[in-house]
Assembly symmetry: C2
Amino acid sequence: MKKMEEKILNEAAVLPGGVLKVGSFLNQQVDTKFMKEVGEEIARLYKDEGVTKILTIEASGIPIAIAAGFAMEVPVVYAKKNKSSNVSGDSYSTPVKSFTHGDTNNVIVTKEYLSKDDKILIVDDFLAHGSALTGLIDITKQAGASLAGCVAAIEKGFQMGGDKLRAKGYRIESLAIIDEMTDDEIVFREQ
Amino acid sequence: MKKMEEKILNEAAVLPGGVLKVGSFLNQQVDTKFMKEVGEEIARLYKDEGVTKILTIEASGIPIAIAAGFAMEVPVVYAKKNKSSNVSGDSYSTPVKSFTHGDTNNVIVTKEYLSKDDKILIVDDFLAHGSALTGLIDITKQAGASLAGCVAAIEKGFQMGGDKLRAKGYRIESLAIIDEMTDDEIVFREQ
């Protein structure tokens, strides 16, 4: 998505530790006009897949998932992060490691919101090592639902999570893939 | 909003401890068709107020704020919860007590996303004791921005937070106000 690349070039900042700051338009502050276009692009990518539900993870995945849900007219389910390992029997749960925060959360979804008849589209803001998507794919499997694929707004291609998931046969669409990132330069993968 | 009351009557459950479970349509799972109507209703309520930005708090306020931001065509900013009291100088911060979880979080917003020229509409899913809205009002004041008012999807009128804020002169709109709630019955306030 050309406009995602432009937003990154014009508004993002590269912080120490390989952090890409996109708080002005993607998380923390959400540019809703742009986000509406993001939702429409996701709907276009998966329009022939019979998606019945969008699955994301709190908190920064929610704006993109809602935008996609509006465009595709399907419900959105967001997984919650739960520090405790105490998960009741009415929830699906999987551990997800955060490389940004250096901790692991149990990610949970109440069972009644996913069914084996669902065809799930997983959406998130960032795809780096792939741990969040891997966790949401695991929850989709636990529910016995089928998976249409995944969308990340921004993929850090150099952290390999996306390509590892593609190698396993999953459809992974990223609206922008960054293959190199320094203070001075951001290089996108040709798509 | 009649349809909010109907959704509560048809889909919500009253759990022990005065918890109203609305996970099937408002949080955890989001009914996006309904949420679009919620956004349009919020836009209608505040259409003459010159709102420039919507402010909410992660995570369950985000879907409603995005819906309102889409309808009003203004950006959405969401405050983050931060367990540590370590807040850097580039953020506004205020403590918010959660009565559901029994803990207090520092709620933070990066300063660059709110300005004194902004007219803020605060949006959240629940209004009970009013601590989240009070915190977001405090952050609005710290930024020197003006406040158009607040919207809650569901107000627990019997917990008095909404009426206390109204008594202070704030405009507080709730799409449904529950004045009594038992296992058997939910009584809405006439609006």
